[in-house]
Amino acid sequence: MIEMEDIRKIYRTQHVETHALTNFTITIDSGEFVSVMGPSGSGKTTLLNIAGLLDTFEHGRYILDGEDVSRLSDRQMSAIRNQKIGFIFQSFNLIPDLNVFDNVDVPLRYRGMGGTERRAAINKALEVVGLSARTKHYPAQLSGGQQQRVAVARALVGSPSLILADEPTGNLDSAMANDVMDLLETINNMETTVVMVTHEPELAARAQRRLHLLDGRLIDLEAEDRPTPLVARAGGAPSARV
């Protein structure tokens, strides 16, 4: 699903250069549920942004679902985001003026789907997250857990092959967090690849594979448990392969 090879991402300000990802190489197969952990500033979100085509990188190659997406136009990247990728954010990022139905509708609008088809997809997604009865509610009228479920429905509605979740439980209590994790597992069981950034080891443990980042490099803490050994790449960064 995801093949990144020797990716390098540097944030530059007038005086400082920050290496967010350094010679980063990774492969994630279709249908995997991967968690990404690491201290703040280790490059987790940068990884997700690059994986989600929300950010570009200076060097390297990125193959998504068999297609080289390293150097695409904005229009091409937007189309791929819309059709292949679903995002779930820590702060839910729902649009406050839109009700639940319309929030879930947003990605489908950019896909140019017809009304009937859209309605069916939205109702199905809301059914999966258990919010069919709340279509007319606005985000402010929902609890945090419900808002995140709406966000999950929005990520799910376009039937993407990849879900990128950036600390999806970060703003939730443990019960709600478990609900959301259950949902992510349900989605993963539908053959959707899930990559989740989290700070919580117990949630990360629910993924099939755990990745650890430090200073923009990948550290494989599961090396001992893994049947496939690490392959040292030319860039010097360790990489993981399932």
């Binding site: 950010d55 954010f89 990022n93 990605p107």
Partner: protein, 438 residues
């Protein structure tokens, strides 16, 4: 997608009604002022008779003082009216399809009802050809025949307002109206007719509405009535001179129009005028070099500088005012849009491309423009009402379909001017940086 964009734009406007009202008010004000002055300019500069403006010719001949030109500013031009005797002389030609000398007089109309008081009315003294030549529309009846010019027979054409005033409206053909001391029979009642500008007589104001009453020219002789318009003379003529002496003088006070449909007709008429002047020269008149002119309607309006400099100046100022309104909105819109960057980040993540985000924000600006434009058009109509009242020409300036379209067009341009930079800025914001922060 476009309908969705309009819906999102409306939601955005509702989110901050005070700010949105401010944006709309700025556009409305700019559109109101600019549309009003565009309309004034349009009325002055438009083609008043587009179907045949290139077939109608204003006739000029230079009978002026041999020692000095008619105009010191433009010595090459002949006088812009002609004498009675020259009108009579050239009206003998059968070359033009239609032709008419004319002037405006002020005569007293006596309403049929005894309790109604007599009133003064502007009366156009003209020939039968006036009506078909200028395609004057009739609600009832028509103009008089050429034979009525010769008598002259006591016939009149009245406009709708005069018909309402005298007879309470309706078909008044055949009814009698007393003008000065004579009864006249109504042959026709005009349908609404307002050539803008009133090209056929620019001397009494091109923005004036047409006269209320029309009668055969030769009643000028019967009533011994002088023009209520411009009269200029370079020879000596005593105020107490008999009317017939005035008619035979070099006084210029008549506008002369001829319809010449073909190039051959125009050439023949031009030759005829030249021959006429050469003949007059033999009689001791026309001491200046031969200088006849035939100008079609648009040439004549340009020559007469019908579009006042003030109208052009106000047009430019009002458009600049609209531009200033739009430019002032750039900052407000930029702040409004950038405050929404996190939402834009989400939309970008969900599949909106830069161009879609740009278009979305342009649609919002254009929505502001159109709402402001509609309000502005309403204000513009009020503004034109005030201008009409100031110029005392009862509704000359009004919004017609092209002007409404122009107003909406201006509001769209203003929306675009105001929105281009903010929309460009917001679509360039990298989506990733706001997703974490929202």
């Amino acid at each position: 997608m476009f309908a969705y964009m309009i819906r999102i734009a409306l939601l955005s406007l509702r989110r901050n009604p005070v700010l949105s009202s401010l944006l709309i008010a700025a556009i409305a004000l700019g559109v109101a002022v600019s549309t009003a002055f565009v309309t004034v300019y349009y009325i002055y500069s438009g083609d008043p008779i587009p179907t045949k403006s290139d077939q109608l010719y204003y006739v000029q001949m230079d009978n002026w003082n041999p020692d000095r030109p008619y105009s010191r500013r433009r010595p090459e031009i002949p006088p812009d009216q002609i004498t009675y005797r020259d009108m009579q002389g050239i009206m003998t030609s059968d070359i033009p399809t239609y032709q008419s000398g004319m002037f405006v007089a002020s005569l007293t109309i006596h309403p049929p009802e005894a309790e109604q008081r007599p009133f003064r009315e502007r009366v156009r003294m003209c020939f039968a050809d006036f009506f078909p030549m200028f395609e004057v529309p009739f609600a009832f009846g028509g103009g008089w025949g050429r034979e009525s010019d010769r008598g002259p027979e006591p016939v009149v054409v009245i406009d709708a307002a005069t018909n309402d005033r005298l007879f309470g409206g309706g078909d008044s053909v055949g009814k009698t109206v007393r003008i000065e001391d004579r009864p006249f029979t109504v042959t026709g009642v005009l349908a609404p007719w307002r050539p803008s500008p009133r090209f056929y007589d620019t001397h009494t104001g091109a923005s004036q509405v047409p006269e209320g009453v029309y009668m055969p020219f030769e009643f000028a002789r019967v009533f011994e009535v002088y023009t209520a318009g411009n009269l200029l003379i370079w020879t000596d003529l005593e105020d107490s001179a008999p009317f017939e002496e005035f008619l035979a003088s070099e006084a210029i006070w008549i506008q002369m129009w001829a319809q010449l449909d073909t190039t051959e007709q125009r050439q023949a008429y031009s030759d005829f005028l030249e021959a006429y002047v050469m003949e007059q020269k033999k009689l001791g008149r026309f001491g200046r070099p031969l200088n006849n002119r035939l100008l079609d309607v648009m040439q004549w309006l340009e020559d007469q500088e019908v579009v006042p400099e003030e109208a052009t100046g106000m047009l430019v100022i009002s458009l600049l005012f609209l531009l200033v309104c739009a430019v002032n909105l750039i900052g407000i819109l930029l702040g409004k849009f950038l405050a929404r960057a996190p939402e834009v980040g989400v939309r970008r993540a969900l599949g909106a491309s830069r161009s879609v985000v740009f278009l979305q924000h342009i649609v919002e600006c254009e929505l502001v423009g159109v709402i402001g434009g509609v309000i502005g058009l309403g204000l513009s109509a009020l503004c034109l009402g005030v201008i009409n009242r100031l110029l005392d020409n009862s509704g000359q300036f009004g919004l017609d379909l092209p002007m409404v379209a122009a107003g909406i067009g201006l509001s769209l341009v203003a929306g675009l001017v105001a929105g281009l930079y903010p929309a460009w800025r917001i679509c360039r914001v990298p989506p990733a940086i706001h997703l974490k922060l929202q």
